[in-house]
Amino acid sequence: MSKSKISTGALVALSMSAFPVVAQESHASKEQLAPLFPEGKPYSPYTDRDFPERPLWGDSHLHTSLSMDAGGFGNRVGLDDAYRLARGEQIMASSGQPVKLDRPLDWLAITDHSDGMGLIVDILDAAPIVTQYEQGARWSEGMRAGGQTAVDSTLDLIATFSQGQMDPEMFANYSPGARRYANIWEDVITAAENHNTPGSFTAMIGFEWTSLVEGANMHRNVIFRDGADRARQVVPYTTQHPIGSTDPLDLYKYLEAYEARTNGAVMTFAHNGNLSNGIMFPVDAQYTGRKIDQMYVEQRAKWERMYEITQIKGDGEAHPFLSPDDEFADYGTWDAGNLDLSVAKTDEMLAGEYAREALKNGLLLEEKFGTNPYKFGLQGASDAHNSIVVTSEDNFFGKHAGYEPSAERLDHSFMKTEQGELFSWQQVGSGLTAVWADENTRASIFDAMDRKEVYATTGPRMAVRLFGGWDFDESDQFSRSPSAIGYAKGVPMGGDLVNAPEGTAPSFLVAALRDPIGANLDRIQIIKGWLDAEGNTHEKVYDVSWSDDRQAGSDGKLPAVGNTVDVASATWTNTIGAAELITVWSDPDFDPAERSFYYARVLEIPTPPWYLYDALKFGVDIPEGAPTSHQERAYTSPIWFTPSGE
């Protein structure tokens, strides 16, 4: 007893002598501080409104001629022109036709493949660094010859690379550690610096890490918050041994090392789980056989802040097999096989591929390990390989240079092997990312992505707000400034709800405003996923706001909005649907003991897909089996609810 008294006394003495040294210089009384924090709200309703008025639109995934497969397939549009197009200027596409966007983007991340970045450009330039090798000289000569010789050379190059038969010495020049590789990365950075104009256009520095294991896609993009000074201190991470790796855990190490070395910030986000044949979102074990453990879930949650849910190679929100009750789940579905169609798809693979299922399984893994590895924001991109971002169906330049507008592009299949076939018309005219950032700068956009205040659309620029809280009431939907109320009373998309008040279900303020030059809206849906006490996951789609005063039928389903698409003229009218939808919705099935998430899906009225414009402009037939209208959509990042006592 006395001993402990002495030690306490010693502690007090210590604190008296040591702590004042680090204490602040000024002392304030309660009376002095009080006037600085006046009670109540300011008189002026316009004060403190520092939330964004509109989202910033961009593409987080675009390839230029620097990417081996892009350049190989004929992309001759480099970094500068890719930026110029995104900024609203007219450029010449690789196929020799002029192209211009309907509206400029606010930001762009060019993400060329890190493996062999720039090699193809040097081959086309007949640079001595490649022509000194037999392969390089042969391909260079072939590609410069044009015509069928060029096509054959390209196919030979791609086959040689995928079989791992590239001259290792030549390829080493396009890998980390080589001077040429560093110079190419420097070009990427310089182009971004030249086009980055804080306030009006942001050029994010980034690359794609192209992990492919037996044709199963685990690709991820990496984007930096930082500018040239920090990005120059590294080169992109690759997948080729011994420097690179195909294991995401090794990519995380690279990201960790970057931050430690530069004091900067970086993140990664995956895409095309739909082509991963089940290995994108593992639940039990990684593709390596390594068990999913605490380290894996923590690392994945730390670095993978978003998921690219929609792009040209398919829409990855939901699959009809996994979500049989969701009548809108079958949109842009690519489920023939893996990335190169070398292995066909089976039903068991689907659960490891789609975002909604991953969000659900994330709850399960969180229950098990205390961290949710699949707590990601949702965003969309084009992944175009011809340097031309996709912003509207009537201006679709395809996946790569070989699919730029022509009377023939609908004829040949996009991909065909013994395992299956994908048709040209199945390319999805997708997508864009909307970011609720305060400012159009790298830092502000990155930070909004980091807090998941982002959403995906399949192209149209509808403004979508989602806020979750405990005390939204119906009158909030009639407010003239819903976002002010949303931020004041709740959390925005990407946020968390905790500490459920006794007997209260979460309520959501959700609002959508159609694209100012686009189609009206059909409905807003809230998609809920949850984990029950037995450890089973569930999902439910709620229609929460819709146009035209429709009444749900006896089966609880809302009737379809209608269809104004005129196939022959590829037009539609805004005579159905609504320009704006807004509502407050409260979860009728809430259980405060269950982990859950909620995200909004906003559907447009039916509009013509890109190939209807092709049919009209080139006078060709609409491909057999291709739908003549589709409902474009937005997917917001979820808001997660976690029960108390965690």
Binding site: P128, G177, S481, P516
Partner: protein, 276 residues
């Protein structure tokens, strides 16, 4: 002395200086015998350094020998190839030489610094590229996509008599107040053409209706900021870089023209071309 300011003169003086320097420091033995391959210690050091750059380590003894042998081999074969005229009419070699020559000329431009006057002149000539577009700040009241004339007039009167715009017109998610924003930003919110339409409206007065992508609006333009050219010092870094790029092109052309002037080019006559 206008000639002292002539970039071409600067260029030529620099070229002379560099050649003089090369001659001054070139202490390698003159090659008297064509069949002697002289390898200096400097050559070997260079080979070792190149190896180290690639492999991040020193070459071993064996590797050193291989490097040296390779170097000798290359030297001999290159000499023989040149003797046989193999460097002639090779597209790759010609292209490389052309590239080297262009780099050589361009490298002078990289070092050039514009004078204040030069930069100012360049800035003014290319001002369109640096101009900051017009901006406008406004309030808007939404009338829907098919407003009645009578209702519009009534709301306009209410606004003009000082009633707060906050609760007038139709509810909308569009911002009531848009702070000073560029045309592109306003068009992104209201649809293409809206910024141009409100920019034409008088300031500090409720007017309209103006058409947007959603319907019609009454607007109160609070402030207009004309497009303008920012002071040069605000954008100097970018302008200097652009000036240098332009200068580089100019110098390349000048130098090429100068060299080309020493040559007479014979093109086939129309009659020759007609021959198969």
């Amino acid at each position: 002395m206008k000639i002292l300011k002539e970039p071409l003169l600067h260029f030529l003086l620099m070229a002379v200086a560099i050649f003089a320097w090369f001659i001054a420091v070139d202490d390698s033995a003159p090659q008297t015998n064509q069949n002697v391959v002289e390898i200096t210690a400097t050559d070997l050091d260079l080979l070792a350094t190149q190896f180290e750059k690639t492999w991040q380590r020193q070459p071993s003894e064996q590797e050193r020998k291989k490097l040296t042998d390779g170097f000798v081999r290359q030297e001999i074969l290159v000499r023989e190839a040149i003797a046989l005229g193999m460097d002639q009419n090779d597209a790759l070699i010609r292209r490389r030489l052309q590239q080297k020559m262009e780099f050589f000329i361009a490298s002078f431009a990289e070092a050039l610094e514009p004078t204040t006057d030069e930069l100012e002149e360049y800035y003014q000539t290319n001002s369109a590229k640096y101009e900051i577009g017009p901006k406008v700040a406004f309030l808007q009241v939404f009338l829907g996509d098919a407003p009645q004339q009578q209702e519009t007039t009534q709301i306009l009167e209410q606004l003009r008599s000082g009633q707060s715009p906050g609760q007038l017109g139709k509810p909308t998610q569009l911002s009531l107040q848009v702070s000073l924003a560029a045309d592109t930003r306003i068009d992104a919110m209201f649809g293409t053409g809206f910024a141009a339409a409100i920019s034409a409206m008088p300031v500090e007065e409720w007017t309209g209706p103006v058409k947007s992508g959603y319907g019609y609006h009454l607007v109160f333009v609070e402030q207009k900021e004309a497009g303008h050219l920012p002071p040069l010092q605000d954008v100097q870094v970018g302008v200097v870089a652009d000036w240098r790029t332009a200068k580089k092109m100019e110098l390349m052309e000048l130098q090429y023209e100068k060299l080309a002037a020493r040559y007479t080019v014979h093109l086939p006559s129309a009659a020759d071309e007609a021959q198969p």
